[in-house]
């Protein structure tokens, strides 16, 4: 919106209050989960409903870290999600560049095919994928899970990057190539730096999609490579739900992504397009 600063009072109503409302909406259930995790598990189902913990306790977190393999699982998730993000980004960026900048036979069909891949319910893909992974000897390995996650993140990530590439005029590429760059060089030197926000958004998308994935993680892996989502599911039993551990685990589970994002979010809005793009 308009860049010029308005009267501070007006900004409270048009900016700070709505922003606060949205943040509270986003945080509300999470905060409630946090409060629950700080209560003693034995007090969770008393007749009187209490919002705030009567006694604040860290026992759930202590149990989570000491008595379960939670940290271990967190580590596995980090490896798988980071791997998926790096592999997925590199593959989808090059593919998206091809789709955005070139016209070639089969382009339309391939673009639609990328969409079709994600339209198919993955529950029906699981058995053939299981057989493929078994054949490659990749069951219960990080690489196997990374590849499996890439199969459904790459198509979407490619489409996302296409939309960000399309926003950069081709005149920039051409100018660079007139100056002697190869097409790939133009991509690296000129276009990519301008799409850093898009790359970050896409990277976060891939990371989160892989981080939250459950079906492949539980079926294609589980023993040596046990991710966070699988570990959390073990807290939901047949006739017992370990609410204390579950809420503590849920609270912790969202933190790595949030912290990661906090580190890179400045680059998301480093809109340095002034001067680079002539109207």
């Amino acid at each position: 919106m308009s860049v010029s600063t308005h009267r501070p009072l007006r900004r409270i109503f048009t900016l700070h209050l709505p922003m606060l409302a949205i943040v509270l909406f986003a945080l509300g259930p999470y905060l409630w989960m946090l409060l629950t995790s700080l209560k003693q598990e034995s007090t969770l189902f008393l007749p009187e409903r209490q919002f705030l913990p009567a006694v604040v306790t860290l026992e759930n977190y202590v149990r989570l870290f000491q008595k379960t393999t939670f940290l271990n699982n967190l580590g596995h998730s980090l490896i798988v999600s980071s791997g998926t993000m790096l592999l997925g980004l590199s593959v989808s960026i090059t593919a998206a560049y091809a789709f955005s900048r070139f016209r070639f036979p089969g382009r339309r069909m391939l673009m639609l095919q990328f969409l079709l891949v994600n339209m198919f319910p993955i529950v029906l893909l699981i058995i053939p994928l299981f057989i493929i992974m078994k054949g490659l000897g990749l069951l219960d390995t990080h690489l196997g899970l990374i590849l499996a996650h890439c199969t459904f993140s790459i198509p979407f990530a490619t489409w996302m990057m296409i939309s960000y590439f399309d926003a950069i005029p081709r005149s920039l590429d051409e100018a660079a190539m007139v100056d002697g760059c190869t097409p790939v060089g133009a991509m690296f030197r000129v276009v990519l730096p301008l799409t850093v926000p898009g790359i970050i958004a896409t990277g976060i998308y891939i990371f989160i999609t892989s981080w939250n994935e459950y079906l492949y993680a539980s079926v294609l892996a589980g023993q040596n490579v046990r991710t966070l989502t699988v570990a959390i599911q073990t807290l939901v039993g047949e006739y017992e739900i370990a609410w204390g551990l579950l809420t503590a685990g849920g609270v912790m589970g969202a933190l790595p992504v949030t912290l990661l994002f906090m580190l890179i979010q400045k680059r998301l809005v480093a809109g340095m397009t002034q001067g680079a793009v002539k109207g």
Binding site: V219, G222, V230, T234
Partner: protein
Amino acid sequence: MPIKLRSLLGAALGAAVLACGTASAQQNVNFWYHVDNAENTKLMDELVKTFEAKNPNIKIKAENVPWNNYFDKLFISIAGGKAPDVAVTRLALQPQLLEMDAIEPITKQLAAWPGKADLANNLLEINKATNGEYYYMPLQYVAIYLYYRTDLFAKYNLKPPATCEDFLEAAKKLTLPASANGGTELYGFGMRGGKGGHDNWGPFVLSQTSFAPDALTSPKAVAANSWYIDLLRKHKVAPPSASNDGFNEIISAFKSGRTAMIFHHIGSAKGMTEALGDKVSAVPVPSCGGGRWTYFGDESTTMFKTSKVKEASWKWMSFLGESENNLKFNEATGQLTVTKSGALKVPHPARFVKATMDSLAFAKPMPLVPQTADFVSTVWPTNMQRALNGEISSAQMMDAIDKHFNAK
């Protein structure tokens, strides 16, 4: 010729050495199980250690698979060609596993097993397959009984219900608005209408009918089902959320004093006593229309045909069936031990053990046919919920179930 003989002997000797070497090489047994409390995997680790100390050439790789897609994962691995060696399983799956030719008979091993005599009576018989062979080694069991609030019953001068009529009367007396109950609404019966709730429905309906063709659609069966539906729709002794309530909801409502009676089994007894102490007790389910039925919940181990370490697998299965080891496993799951010697030492509060034992006379598993698994996960919940919401009638619901089991 002599050269040939020598090389032949050499080869034979080499093969013998190789065979001996393989026999003492390490064998890995992949074992899948599930425990509700993730902290209890430590107990499994201890069991594995004890076993490995006794059997130095066998390594057990035990995996705690999350309950919510335990059977999905099992079927996918069987279909994908990489089943585990041993897994915890249930009777409801036996027909399907047999049709898929996935499991290995253990009849011979059982016959030669000394621990067989210590198994509780007729547990093996219940687990026997229709073709006469044994595939399952019993691991633990439960029977559904009725939890009730002793303090509320005492307050309103009620006795734990022995018949359906008693049940309804007690439920009505214990359904009170918040104003009459110290600020908290109370419902007499925490009905479980979501998935798994067929064991709430069974005592009221299956006590008066069976799954035989046309039995489910008889007037008596339809009337019994109607009576059950009326608990919610007419008498309103169950909370309005009943049709979607699963285990978690009925337990939390009962623990927080919002319902007075629920059906469940000894697996939750520990949590109940922690939350309610002496205010909770249990009795067998009431008898209805002259009959009595409750759900027998079993869990056993089975061995898969694709296993390459069948002997080692059997050793592990029988190990878990031995008195002390079985008790330890049950500590992790909260269910009841299968051995007679172990039954004398169970850690559960006595009143819940008694309720379970007293139920054994009329506790039955669901029919041992392939349709049962689908009945439990789809046919029953969907039809029950629609009937509870008034979308279909009792007769229509029974008809759908009958069609499912007895389609011509």
